[in-house]
Symmetry: C2
């Protein structure tokens, strides 16, 4: 089982409207709802890749109930909270294909809820092949939360991937996670360098065993004990499509658990990301496109002389 | 007890954002949720005026549960349905105060659900001092629905107010409701006339005992067996504020039940509407403003020589 931690779960609502105009009224022609938040998206892609995935984190209120009811294919280890799970609303303009997003603030997590989560996490670790810690921290969760969760995973001998930014990333890197997956902005904020090759090496020196930076349509840059690589998709997918980075995380985790060599893992992550950008539904991937793209990812690099 | 029929209930969600920009992402700074739909708004204002109000109509799914949980001050006689109660999302731009609305389509009502509603309605009528039929018909409800509900109310000797438009209004007017409250567009569509004084008289000839047309910031025009009046607010309120027309309906109903003379009823309806436009929350009214405005409404007209 692969455990994903989704402290900031959401109910993702997508509206289609014929044409978006600010400061006017719109009849929504189609409504779709699905569990969202990075940890949940990662778990769903892992399940689609044939892995057993369990998601923990927080869920509460009517939206939390909908999230739990819709967790098909993923084991539910979410902790109930007194707050209400946030929604995100994405309004798709059918004329242009553009999306306008509204993200609700997350609920406040109480100290008792945070303690309950940590206990559940410790209980789940012995059964996990790997752990992914994904997304921002909700209000009420201490900024050193991920650092603590990385230490607990390492103490249990479970490889841990971290996908977050800012101060929570900075603190957790010092706790020596196995793999971090920052995007270009998060990596630059962590290291002070806007040059990805240099910055990934620097992030390793700060404590991460391996670093895979996602550069959007330009693919991935990896710095690992086994070598350094760059993986580039065959065609430039749409930038910033929802969930593409979560598919990268799922691809990396699956490669880690299957003990694939890095070039194959990186190719899988890039192909999944590109296939997610092609899918009409946010956070899903087009399987046929994935299989076709897989052979077209260019991975270049050098193996470490160890 | 005053009965309001809300076939098209909604969960009204309001988001505040610092500045709305189409095709970008927004962090919502404040989320408010409340039961909505015309019939529910009317019931809430009636309750605030000191009347016992019961709401019937449809509610289903997680959003329907939230609507029912939040019906404070109003008796809940909603019929459960297999579909999901729609949401409306109103995004308020904090910079300009402008609102951008997204209205989900309503759920499909099954024939069995429509039958269950009609039975419940007949059971509620003997206890009602008056009935209000409010809003559009949801998918699955026959276009002659309001005509049938008007007839049932009249057969039970209960005065009935109708607030809808289009073909449902046209058919229901022929069933001789006690009072209709069209807006300018609905009245013009019903009568073919864009001249409110003439059109209200014409609507009476088509079957409505009394007609009160709401002309937005220009107030109300009334044609009744007792006389004809025009009621104008002291200051022009913001046009099209959410819920202002529902406050007109509540004001008219309360005057009907309290057997007030028409000029007092119309002044109350206009003052309530203006006080609703002044309230920051959609569908609520500013009580201090209401009481102050009440004396400032100018009602002019002539009593019928009968």
């Amino acid at each position: 089982m692969i455990l994903t931690v989704a402290l900031n779960t959401a109910l993702d609502v997508t509206y289609r409207v014929p044409a978006l105009r600010a400061h006017s009224s719109h009849r929504v022609t189609q409504v779709t709802e699905r569990p969202g938040g990075k940890g949940l998206n990662v778990a769903r892609v892992l399940a689609a890749l044939g892995h057993e995935a369990t998601v923990t984190g927080f869920a509460g209120g009517p939206t939390g109930r909908v999230v739990r009811d819709r967790l098909t294919g993923v084991a539910d280890a979410l902790i109930p909270i007194s707050g209400v799970t946030r929604r995100t609303v994405a309004v798709v303009d059918e004329r242009t294909g553009d999306t306008t997003r509204f993200d609700e603030p997350g609920p406040l997590i109480t100290p008792a809820e945070w303690s309950a989560f940590q206990e559940a996490y410790e209980d789940l670790l012995p059964g996990a092949e790997a752990v992914a810690l994904c997304g921002c921290l909700p209000p009420g969760v201490p900024v050193g939360a991920y650092a603590g969760l990385v230490r607990l995973a390492r103490a249990a001998g479970v490889p841990v991937l971290l996908d977050t930014g800012g101060e929570p990333l900075r603190r957790a890197v010092a706790a020596r996670p196995d793999l971090i997956k920052p995007n270009a902005d998060e990596l630059a904020e962590l290291t002070g360098s806007h040059e990805p090759l240099r910055a990934t090496q620097d992030a390793r020196r700060r404590g991460a065993r391996s670093v895979v930076a996602s550069l959007g349509p330009e693919g991935l840059v990896a710095a690992t004990p086994e070598g350094r690589w760059r993986a580039v998709p065959p065609a430039r997918p749409r930038a910033n499509a929802t969930g593409t980075d979560d598919s990268v995380t799922a691809g990396l985790l699956s490669g880690l658990v299957e003990r694939l060599p890095w070039p194959r893992t990186l190719a899988r992550a890039v192909a999944l990301s590109a296939a997610t950008a092609l899918s009409p539904a946010a956070g899903e991937f087009d399987r046929a496109a994935y299989e076709e793209l897989l052979g077209g990812v260019a991975v270049t690099g050098e193996v470490s002389a160890a």
